[in-house]
Symmetry: none
Subunit: 404 residues, 2 copies
């Protein structure tokens, strides 16, 4: 199946000097909190309010109705790529997340340290969530003792707590390797070269590596084995610059988002994590880029913590920081999220995401506040995330007329 709508939009795109800023407040959307309203509704946001009065509102569906997206698909949609056509394996996302410079042909997988009992059954799929420095110690032990397969470079990297990443580099690798995580306790890890993966040379190689690792870690108390998931290779997609004829830059402090930006060939020009730094760096980047992606993590983190007050506070921080970004006068400014993370759910959710677009050719209604209940009345309506970039291009005169 071909992405004919996406391809058509890409073909219509042309370059000019106008500048677009996409400010992502990760996990922005919320549900009502026992009648108190959503986080955006509760927050005091004088700067958002002033901007809203001259902007278009709407809401976006990250992937499809009912689908709760991870950070990868959430951002892929925001970058104007249909997350269903453009899917990346978990392993690649993890490699990007630790800033490993993954290359075409590499195979990456997500690792979890786990605890096995004496019979080889999994008793803890996360090895008691060992601290990150313990992860580093055990990983070093593996690196010091493992015998690499001939002609293969092997990279093992700590992510955090029990999480790590494996990347294999060499000729003729494939990603048809089965997950070994059994997704439950009381049974042994699965065989990566089982049944449907039997034809994979890489699966057999991984099996051999796992045998070695089990041996190397046999005296460990907690992290005495690893579970593997999401073996994947880097897809070869058109870069963001090619697809949209934009000169992009990313302002993102967290590894995962820097990784997703790089996946689309977007250089990371600054890595602030606080609202003020993000707005200042985005303003700077707008001086010599026609597209700036700026990412704020804490609206998601506080949502995942189930901490409504903290989420409200983080939104207010971004509101206070906003003038620094507005000073750069982007031709089009989009403020939205990659998905919703309602504190009441303590997790990502499928709910539509509030979206604000400050742009030149608007029709109204012009509303007073920026939150879930006003967004649904806005002129942009409910759209899919992948439609946001095309709209921003249209508003900055970067999409040619289709047909005569």
């Amino acid at each position: 199946m071909e992405d004919i709508y996406g391809n058509l939009l890409s073909e219509q795109a042309i370059a000019n000097e106008k500048r677009i800023c996409l400010l992502v407040l990760d996990g922005l959307g919320d549900v009502d909190n026992s009648g108190k309203g959503t986080a955006l509704e509760i927050a005091k946001t004088p700067n958002f309010d002033a901007l809203t009065k001259k902007s278009a509102l709407g809401e976006s569906i990250p992937v499809a109705r009912g689908i709760t997206p991870g950070s990868g698909p959430g951002h892929i949609g925001l970058f104007g790529y249909d997350p269903i056509f453009y899917q990346i394996g978990r392993g690649v996302l993890s490699a990007l997340g630790v800033e490993f410079e993954i290359k075409q042909g590499d195979v990456a997988a997500r690792l979890n340290f786990c605890t096995l009992d004496e019979n080889g059954n999994v008793v803890d799929r996360r090895a008691g969530r060992i601290p990150t420095d313990e992860n580093e110690r055990v990983l070093q032990k593996i690196k010091d003792n493992i015998k690499k397969p001939e002609g293969i470079d092997m990279h093992l990297m700590t992510e955090s707590e029990h999480r790590a990443v494996l990347v294999l580099r060499g000729k003729g690798l494939d990603d048809n390797v089965g997950d070994t995580d059994p997704q439950q306790t009381g049974i042994p890890p699965l065989d990566p070269a089982r049944d449907e993966h039997a034809s994979s040379k890489t699966a057999k190689m991984v099996n051999g590596l796992l045998d070695q690792i089990k041996d190397i870690l046999r005296d460990e108390k907690q992290a005495n084995f690893i579970l593997t998931r999401g073996f994947a290779q880097l897809p070869s997609w058109p870069s963001f610059a090619e697809r949209w004829k934009l000169k992009p830059a990313a302002v993102a402090g967290y590894p995962m988002y820097r990784g997703v930006a790089r996946l689309f060939g977007m250089p990371v020009v600054a890595t602030p994590t606080e609202a003020k730094g993000i707005c200042e760096e985005a303003a700077k980047a707008l001086k010599d880029h026609t597209f700036v992606f700026a990412h704020f993590k804490y609206t998601d983190k506080t949502g995942e913590d189930g901490d409504l007050d903290a989420k409200v506070k983080r939104i207010e921080e971004m509101d206070a920081a906003l003038p620094a970004l507005l000073e750069a006068k982007p031709d089009v400014l989009i403020i939205t999220g990659d998905h919703s993370t309602p504190p009441a759910l303590k997790a990502h959710s499928w709910h539509a995401v509030p979206m604000l677009m400050q742009a030149p050719y608007l029709r109204g209604p012009f509303l007073d506040r920026f939150h879930e209940k006003t967004c649904i009345q806005g002129e942009l309506g409910t759209i899919t995330a992948k439609e946001i970039i095309p709209l921003a291009l249209a508003h900055s005169d970067k999409l040619q007329k289709f047909g005569a």
Copy 2:
């Protein structure tokens, strides 16, 4: 790729005596004009208002979010064909626009008279926008002097100003002919048989014709050559009558819209250009057709002229004329545009298009006025243009139940 939704809808369609009228106010949609509102909002429209109170409102996306459609794709969508699946070349549209009866196998192209300097470089891609009678004179000179290729009929037709149309008729023609318009000045026209077009016999033939034309026009001061674009052949699509089991008629005064109607096998029964004539002729056509497409050009033309007052006045003219159409009591009446043409942009735009549907089975809300800000609250929501005909068929009991 297959148009599965469109095909399903077509399969469900059945004929009956009920009559649908699609009144297209070309370029109807607008943006807000510095706080004054949109053209529809500003216009005094007592007849639209009365109709609105018992109609369904909504808005339509002509092709896809962000895409600014030309007249071709705009109408193809309104006729219930996805403009991305059903694409026509520029040359065919131009031939339809001058009412040339193009046939299967013909090859059509758009011509622009241009001015070359003594070195053969393009100095004016539009030959100073020569007047239409000058175009006719120079075109006649070519016709009088050119030697046609053996077995090929050649038709040259004036469009207006510097624009003309070429149609070649004969056996074995193809449309793999390169555009010769270099899209900039200071360089020579391109070779129609270059590289990727080298296998085309027609491209070589066109090259020979262009050599002759350069010689014939060498003493002209302004229009001393032509640039060619959009070589294309007629697609073979299901006719409107076949696809929707309707007996259609078109009431359209401008060549382009008569052409698009005929592309779908829709006979043009009258060619008024003013609102009053359009409504009267549409009412007449509804007597013996189950579908009438009526086209009003001036809402687009005034938008392209950037003349908000004139656009408002044209809307008021149509409002005043409407009772003549309502007298015919169509079972379903749709009033919408093929795209937006905001005077502030002086051009077609990507904005959604206001839409009103008077039909028997409505649910409300019933709103007071018909404009962009009420349409977004209407019961039809925001739909794609290709969904309008299926809705009209449903409201006239012409779509069978799907599945048992």
